[in-house]
Structures are given as C-alpha cells and as structure tokens.
Symmetry: C2
Subunit: 242 residues, 2 copies
C-alpha cells in the first residue's frame, strides 16, 4: 500500500479516522507505523494528502487526515473487455486500477462462456476491494467506473457513444499490423477506448460490428497472450503513446 | 494452449507421440480434438510444426508429429529481477515466457526477504511447467534460461558481462524521466537487459552499483505497480521499442 484510501464517510470532524479492518492490520504489520508517523492518504474519488497516526490501541488505529491535494488526473484510457474466465478476471481487477483506466466495460461475446456472468467476481462487493487495492498500489484515488453488458450489439450500437464519447477506438487483433502507438499517435485523441476480446477471439460478426463503429484493429506482434497479460501489455502501450 | 509442446525425448521414431498427462486431458476436454485432426505442435527448445491425432484411447492420445519449422527468434530481452514474494513470482513465470524473455536472472537485494529464496517457487520442478505453459500460450518453443543469484554484487561485478554480453542495460526507477522507448532507441542495441527491483525498491548502494555498471534508469510515469504488473508493462515497452 503506497496510499491509504479512505471512504468519504470514514472521515469524522477534525479529520479523525478510526480503522480496525485490513488497513489497520497492514499499517501495523507491514508498514509498522508508530504514533506520530505520517502516511500518504487519500479519499476514494477525492483528494490526496497525509494521515498522521495519533493512537494505536490493539488492532485499532486512530489517524488525523489532511487531504486537500489534487489526485492524479483521470486515466485517459477506457477498456471494453469480453468477460474472461473468473480466475483471470479476479487477477485483473487490481492490475487494471493500478495501471489506470477510467471505465471498464465488461461485455458478452460469442466465445464468452455463459456461466462467466454468474460468478461473484463480477459483483461490486467482490471487485471493489480489488480495485481499491490497485489504487492504493498506484497512489490514485479515482475508482474506475464498471458496467456489465449482456449484449455486445446493444452496447456498441446504442450505448457506447454516450458512455465513452469522443474516444479513439481500438480493438486488439493478433493479425493486425498497425501498432497501438501508431494508432494512438495518428488520432491525437484525448481518450482511447481499447477493446480486448475473449481468449478465442471475437467472431467475424463481432469484428464487423466493431469495425463498423470506428474500432481500428491494432496488433502487438506474433505472440498470443492470456487475457490478463494482454490487457496489461496493451494498456501500457496506450498509456505510453497517449 | 495454442501450441502443444513436446519434450525431445517424447518423440519416438516416425514422429509418434503418446500423451496421457495434462496435455492429453487439455486436448480432449478443451480443444475437443478428434482422430485425424491437426494441432500446432513444437519441441521444447526446438522446431515447430504440427501433430496429427492418430488415436484416442481413454485418457491417452497418440499423435504423429511433423516438426521441422523454425521457432520464433529468441526474444531480445533479458530480465534481472529481485526475487518477489512467492505468490507474485508464481503468477509471473508463465507471463514472462509468454511475453518473451531470453534469460531470467533472479537476484537477492537488501529489500528482498530472506525466506523468499527458500520457497519451492524457485525450484525448476515448480517453474518449468509454468514456463512451458507460457510458451504454449505464446506459440514459442524456447524455454527462458533461469539462474538464481544470492549476491547482487557478485552477479553485477563478476558474472553479468559473461551471462548477458553486449546488452543495453536498463533499470526501472519510478523517479526516472527517461522512458524505456527513448533509452532503447538511443542505444540501438541488439539486446536489452532490464532490471526490476524489489517492491520497496533498490537501496542507494544497489542503485550506485547498477549505475556504475552501465544500467540506465528508466521510468514509466507516476504510478507504482506491483512487481508482476510492472514486469509485464516494462517488458512490453522494451519489446515495442527494440
């Protein structure tokens, strides 16, 4: 944890915060904080600053937070992702918020197994702590917006213009020769929306649908990567080029 | 699995291969192969080609392999990595071989916990199947060379020139402003050796040691990433630039 994240409602008058959950445990066992010590702190979807440890009583830590600094700018990349296997999705949440994405749009696709949608990995109780973990790693406070879409066609045709306006749209395609860097630089967009398909790829209909809605295919060389590795790699390239 | 990897010793005269382990299971349950079907196949550290399913008997699959094609070129990137937490290291092996590294040099450092070395995650029985998994994902046959170094100083001063000759040397440093792309392009090297430190960073002595041995510090923006995410991101940037 490089930034202690607090919920807005956890800060009492005078900036007093009382923690006795996993964060208190982490502060004591890993960061080994002492009374008087400052730690970097921030408010979820709010400002950053510091929190001073004012008391430690057993498993409870009392801090006084002073958070009035600007958080990092909202990441200029959004991800449209065909829901991967639950195990892969679970690994991905914290990495996505750490690398930095504004929105995560999870979608169905022909090669997404139907039962991937029924798992608790897609419930906010399950992914929110993982997103917060990634933000704490990366010293960011802005929680990515998450939405789940059962029909790719409806999402792309009817909802995407509103959800992600004015973004340059890219779709990862192992057969494409245009690189992420070339595509991003050619467009000079303020934002990029990156689409990553299922392990088995989008089918022909889906690729046509995406192409018809301004998604340009970008490649990343010959090697086929697992969805989580591919997402990290592609988002890194977008961040590097934007 | 996008490429079925075989050990050289598994191929009998006439190219006959008999599988009854996890690979046979994967071929049946996931790829749902039938007799007569071709699958992409390769020999570990050898050529690639195809294997034709000639018989399926219960959990055993017989194939005839024809492997005489060139494998992808050896990745031009090597990784010098301070041993991370076992859980992170376990997640990393397959991702490293999938992204493509020639060598993985695992080293001690001041901020590496001593017990990280005592785990089975660093034994070849444990990591070899994971490296093979990554190769099968990425359709490569070349197993990264792995070595473990208990003393960073000895490695850098006495062994590195021989282990990784003529490589451009980079060390990831959150405070650096030079980007990976700029550094790689400025050097026009044939190979890049990328050093990634412990979660807590290299200490001052280690940074001086690396700087004294031609490692240039490269950064990747303000966000601090977990070791596995950072390795994937940095290796992606090197591959993109080299």
């Amino acid at each position: 944890v490089n930034l202690l994240l607090l919920g807005r409602g956890e800060i009492r008058p005078g900036g007093v915060v009382e923690l006795s959950d996993g964060r208190a445990d982490h502060l004591q066992r890993v960061l080994k904080v002492a009374v008087g010590q400052d730690v970097r702190a921030g408010v979820i979807d709010g400002p950053i600053g510091t929190a001073t440890v004012t008391a430690i009583a057993g498993a409870t830590i009392i801090l006084r937070a002073t958070v009035d600094g600007d958080p990092p700018p909202r990441p200029r990349v959004d991800l449209l992702l065909a829901v991967p296997r639950p195990k892969v999705m679970r690994r991905l949440w914290a990495q996505l918020s750490a690398i930095g994405v504004g929105r995560i749009l999870l979608t169905n696709a022909a090669r997404v197994e139907r039962n991937y949608f029924d798992t608790h990995v897609l419930t906010s109780e399950s992914y929110r702590p993982l997103l917060v973990e990634g933000l704490q790693q990366a010293r960011d406070t802005r929680l990515p917006l998450v939405s789940i879409h059962r029909q790719l066609k409806v999402l792309v045709e009817d909802e995407l213009d509103e959800l992600v306006p004015d973004a340059s749209r890219l779709v990862a395609d192992p057969s494409a020769t245009l690189t992420v860097g070339e595509a991003v630089k050619a467009d000079r967009s303020e934002r990029v929306l990156l689409a990553v398909g299922p392990e088995g790829g989008w089918n022909a209909f889906e690729m046509e649908l995406l192409a018809a809605h301004r998604f340009r295919a970008v490649g990343m060389g010959q090697r086929t990567l697992r969805t989580d590795t591919a997402c990290v790699a592609l988002l890194t390239l977008v961040h590097d080029a934007i």
